[in-house]
Amino acid sequence: MDTAGAHSVSVRGSSPISLRLRFGLLGQMRYTIGIVATLVAAAVFSAAFPHFGTFENAANILSLFGPLAVLSVGQMMVVLIRGFDLSVGAVFALATVIAAEVMNATGLVGLVAAPLVGIAFGLLNGALVSYFRVQPVIATLGSLLLARGGALLAAPNGQAVIVGGDAQAVLLNLQLASIAGVPVTAVFTLVGFLVVAFVLYATRFGRRLFMVGGDPRSAALVGVRVHAVTVAAYAMCGFCAGLTAILILMRTGLGLPTEGVGMEVQSLAGAVIGGSQLSGGYANPFGVFFAALFIQTTQSGLNFSGISPYAAEMVMGCSILLAGLLDRVSQRIFRTA
């Protein structure tokens, strides 16, 4: 009975209907949740607050959502291959501190330190998860503690590091600049997403990510180096954390050792609301883009309403529970053996 049940599941998993569900129009619906949610949130808040639906506020939301969007798309890469990264918040905090200190020594070139720190932690996470077979929770939790402790140790007295001199002026000018009314930071973010989309859909590496996420054993059987792909995915996630650090440096001109607490949770919510599934195999950068936009719109709207920031925290908690529900529902619909 039970073996027969398992067998019938595997047959259903590869039936035309199921394949159509996964790859057909209905299957693509999962990636549109972010867009719909953003539109609903924007409509609700615009109706409630007269100044919410203005062009300036939209530009403001666009300039604020960059860090979360970039973190979420990095998170999406590791969720795609059945992992997740809890260290992203702490890693980008460490990256802002290190980059701020290096810039104070070398000038603007020191900004390169931010993505390098991110990649280093990504490689560490990836190596731990693949070659050392450590659970992603433990590996990335360890990196979280390591990076947070490192950030507080690297910053004098655990205080924010101020970027001085020309570097600061350049960073802040970039933050304030805009192209045709769209903030430069938002353009950066969009370009980042296009690059990720190119990697995912137009390169062999991208196909391998989907293969490993869909079924690592089958991927290994057809000759994919699963461990190497895993390390690369975590490294890309770390790189995204480094880019987030650059966006934060542009916004504040500060290396902030205590920044990013809770961002790992928000980025996971961004990835899942954007259509990823924690059991791996699904990813769409544009779904994630709008999911991050939804989270930022909601938070800006709650700021407009003037309620306690703790209520905003509760709403965030609810959206993560909602993401959990979406994850479950999509697993039921798109179940494969």
């Binding site: 039970d2 398992a6 997740f84 731990l128 070659y131 050392f132 077979r133 450590v134 659970q135 929770v137 433990i138 590996a139 939790l141 360890g142 990196s143 979280l144 503690l145 390591l146 947070r148 402790g149 490192g150 507080l152 140790l153 655990g158 690592p216 054993r217 290994a220 699963v226 461990h227 809770g262 949770v265 996971l268 919510a269 899942v272 924690l278 306690s308 703790y310 209520a311 905003a312 925290e313 509760m314 965030m316 908690g317 609810c318 959206s319 993560i320 529970l321 993401a323 959990g324 529900l325 994850d327 479950r328």
Partner: protein, 323 residues
């Protein structure tokens, strides 16, 4: 004589690997760290460790049954806030009951969502972490709630019996209770089955959803005791009470030898893991390291311990087993 040696080696094999790690660091610190081996210091290590121990028992239950709980840091904070608010109008006993009940409520919500709606425990407890913290902070009005000192609230954390502090006594009794729960009850045994293979557990006909739900509720009961002792120690309703608690409990379980993959572990594993973490934290204080180094070291030790315990699996079996 041969029989004796055999029995001895059997016993040694049954002991968790982590106990040797503990023995090693205790001997090294006792030899090289002045002030470590003093009886007051060791009592202090246990007193501080007792709260972590009780919370880790809860985490151990959830981990063994195949879940994970990130929400316990927020739920002890909620416990302190509700207790502090209740104590303003009600007697101490009733206030403590309210605090305990609030943690059970959080555990029950986790359990309902994970067991009956089959949501990912990871996302559920992360969501609850934010939800419960936000709720506690709003209930407290954003600031710590003062507790009038006359209530004798300190007794639970400060008092003791025959020189043994109450928290240590409670943690020891709870360890025995946890052992009995794991080894001698059908419910406890079912968690190991559920944690190793949910389909197999379902096939045996055990009441899967009820047992998973009870795992979260009973875990909350252990965390609840930890929350009450913690509340008694700070004597305030503090919405930001112990945010690193979930991470420390996971570290304690990982170091003690309870894998996050579920299905394996014991009460002894949890106890050893907690003592290792408590001893290391104490050593960091005695060595006058900056407090931030504690975080970094905790992370490194957690990962290191897990790698060390996994050595056989990734040397011999890695190529045979699944990826």
């Amino acid at each position: 004589m041969t029989m004796g040696r055999l029995a001895g080696s059997k016993l040694l094999q049954r002991l968790p690997v982590s106990i040797w790690v503990l023995a090693l660091i205790v001997v090294v610190f006792a030899l090289f760290l002045p002030g470590f081996a003093r009886i007051e210091n060791l009592t202090n290590v246990l007193r501080v460790g007792a709260i972590l121990a009780l919370a880790s028992y809860g985490q151990a239950i959830v981990l063994i049954s195949g879940g994970i709980d990130f929400s316990i840091g927020s739920s002890v904070a909620l416990c302190s806030v509700t207790t502090a608010l209740a104590i303003q109008q009600w007697p101490l006993g009733l206030a403590l009951t309210v605090g305990f009940a609030s943690i059970i409520a959080v555990g029950a919500i986790n359990g309902l969502l994970v067991a009956y709606l089959k949501l990912s425990p990871f996302l559920v407890t992360l969501g609850m972490l934010l939800l419960v913290h936000g709720f506690a902070a709003i209930a407290a009005g954003g600031l710590p709630v003062e507790v009038p000192d006359r209530e004798g609230i300190h007794t639970l954390s400060g008092g003791g019996l025959l020189g043994v502090p109450y928290p240590v006594l409670i943690a020891a009794l709870a360890a025995v209770a946890l052992h009995v729960l794991f080894e001698r009850t059908t419910l406890g045994r079912s968690w190991f089955l559920i944690g190793s293979s949910r389909p197999a557990a379902e096939a045996t006909g055990i009441r899967l959803r009820r047992n998973i739900f009870l795992a979260y509720v009973l875990a909350a009961a252990f965390v609840g005791v930890a929350g009450l002792i913690l509340t008694s120690r700070v004597a305030a309703g503090e919405p930001n009470l112990y945010p690193t608690l979930p991470f420390e409990t996971m570290a304690a379980c990982a170091v003690g030898g309870i894998p996050l993959t579920g299905g394996r572990g014991s009460a002894l594993n949890a106890v050893i893991g907690v003592i290792v973490i408590a001893v290391l934290n104490n050593a960091i204080v005695l060595l006058n390291f900056p407090a931030y180094a504690q975080l970094a070291l905790l992370g490194a030790i957690m990962v290191g311990a897990v790698i060390a315990q996994g050595v056989p699996s990734w040397t011999r079996l890695a190529r045979i087993r699944s990826l």
